[in-house]
Amino acid sequence: MIRLSKKIWLFGFPAILLVGLAVMTVTFFRQRETIAEQRRVIEAQTESAYRALSNDLNDLSVALGKLDAASTPASLSKRFAEIRRLTAGATRALSLLPVSYADDSGLMQFLTRTGDYADTLMDRVLSGQMLTGGQLESLGALRTCCADLSASYDGGCVDGSFPAAGEDGFYAEADEENLANYPTLLYDGPFSESSEQAEPLGLPDETVGEAEAARIAQDLFPDRTLAFDGKTESTIVTYDFSAADEKGELCVSITERGGLLLYFMGTPAGANSDPPGDEESERLHAAASACLEQLGFGRMEPSYAQYYAGTVVINYAAVQSGVILYADLVKVYVDRETERVIGLDATNYRFCHRPRTFDRPILTEADAKNTVSDTLTVEHTALALIPKSRTLEVLCYECKCTANGTFFLVYVNAETGAEEEIFEVINSEEGDLVV
């Protein structure tokens, strides 16, 4: 037995150790191979994105060049559509590259605005207008810039010398001097400089201090004890207050300019998310309308509503002389359980609301109906001012239409007859979704 025991100790355990060592070695190499494989996959994806960006920049430069040769609206529109497609592809590729925000935000902005600019010019061309000298000059500057960018990215693709990522996984930071000078584009579009730097138009110039703002907020909610949270130093400067008690959390923001309510948001009592019946819906709308009236908002028109997490959110737009002002939007949150208003967001209203002057529509209501597709049945029309960007609004006929049980909102330009927007209204379990 002792001999056997010694044999086991002499041969058994070294054998175990050898097996263990072999297992650990296999595990080590397997994991190393897995890591290396994952790294290669990431590198391949990065190189693919780099090549896609390079190709899109090259094609973009060519597409911008072809504009010089295009003379008909159809041909110009085709080129602009191509530019839009290429800039979208290039921004997608750029977002996949390991480039820091500080390095790529300029190029991202250049690509987004070039696409946005192409959209704007396509609209212009399709409405029968010619490109101006300034616009042609801007397109020339875009082409030159694009050609330079394309050349700088092309090198890596030709000889495979892609930028190497640093230890942090990012490409090295670019020198300030090497950053491209992107041309400035003057136009109205959702991503234009003028739109992104727009100032609020619905606030008076006189300002209120913290104490006055606190009084205004407290007067709105006399049964809650509000505490000052701080100031939001944004485009709309606000004093922010909050309360947290047995009634839940409540946040209130009062604007510095004018001491007006920007938003308040409370906690719903329940969690009902089912669509309400007609009677309940009527009561919820009545509560929201009464609240708006009490808070001094002028005439407001309810549009679509959504139901989730115990609340109904009803969108109201201001109305002036029978024209719906869709930019001047207020969202009212009503608690389904208590049927009381627990939240209100007037950010868009405060940003945009001011008296508008309208030209008499050139098109009649009948003209607008006639421009809508024959496949649609127009159920209702109304005049509406719709925002194309933060700085551009267009007077339209809003045509509520149906086609085979599907609801559409078609906005026909009241001056030119152009279809400015088409939305589909989807009646989902969470309410009306306008897409």
Binding site: G12, V23, T91, R113, E233, S234, Y263, L329, N348
Partner: protein
């Protein structure tokens, strides 16, 4: 009889020893334990170090010090103390290991769910307003010319959110995060248009700290 028993027990020890050595190989994908290596281990070490349980090197190697720290963490958090980072321990750390934490089936509500995942992974524990604010920052980026113009493009942009880097983005969001996502998508922006946020206690990045501060909510500072 006794000899036979001794033989059997030695054979059992042998088999057990082999099994013990095979375990890391057999279950390498299921949990993290002594001998594990890789990014998941790095994430665990980072988290333990951040919370003061671990003082060793963040090297992606699950050694004795890491195991001791995991045991300490498990003891403090009422978990089974076994030194292994399995499903429950990973969840308690707020981590989603490559396959250790099984994700609940995701409903197909696309952008809302992804935004809720981002909010939950980046701002759970923050006040409700702060959670909506994180969602609003994502949406402000979508509307900005300087960022990709889709929610997925913004969230998965390289280096944009630490939750994507450490895998927490794959955690299942709770109801609060889903409501916060819906409120943000509905237009509530408590940040007034901010494009960035950070936790001053956890960030040393000089560039982000140089941005003008717009407001603070909870532990986050928001800026443009």
């Amino acid at each position: 009889m006794i000899r036979s028993a001794v033989k059997k027990s030695k054979a059992a020890i042998l088999v057990l020893a082999i099994l013990c050595m095979l375990i890391p190989l057999l279950s390498a994908e299921a949990a993290l334990r002594r001998g594990s290596t890789g990014d998941d281990v790095t994430a665990v070490q980072k988290r333990l170090k951040q919370w003061g349980y671990y003082s060793g090197a963040v090297d992606g190697v699950y050694g004795y010090a890491t195991e001791r720290a995991v045991r300490w963490f498990q003891q403090k958090n009422g978990l089974t103390v076994d030194g292994v980072v399995g499903e429950k321990t990973a969840a308690a750390m707020g981590l989603s290991l490559s396959s250790a934490v099984s994700g609940a089936s995701k409903p197909a509500n696309g952008d809302t769910y992804l935004l809720a995942q981002c909010i939950y992974s980046e701002a759970r524990g923050e006040p409700y307003k702060g959670q909506v604010a994180v969602g609003a920052v994502v949406l402000n980026r979508v509307k900005s010319s300087s960022f990709p113009n889709s929610i997925s493009g913004v969230i998965y942009q390289k280096g944009a959110f630490s939750a994507v880097d450490d895998g927490q983005i794959n955690l299942t969001p709770n109801e609060t995060a889903i409501k916060a996502a819906k409120d943000a998508l509905n237009g509530w922006d408590p940040t007034g248009g901010c494009l960035f946020y950070y936790n001053p206690a956890k960030t040393s990045n000089r560039w982000i700290r140089s941005r003008p501060i717009v407001l603070r909510i909870g532990s986050h500072v928001f800026c443009k």
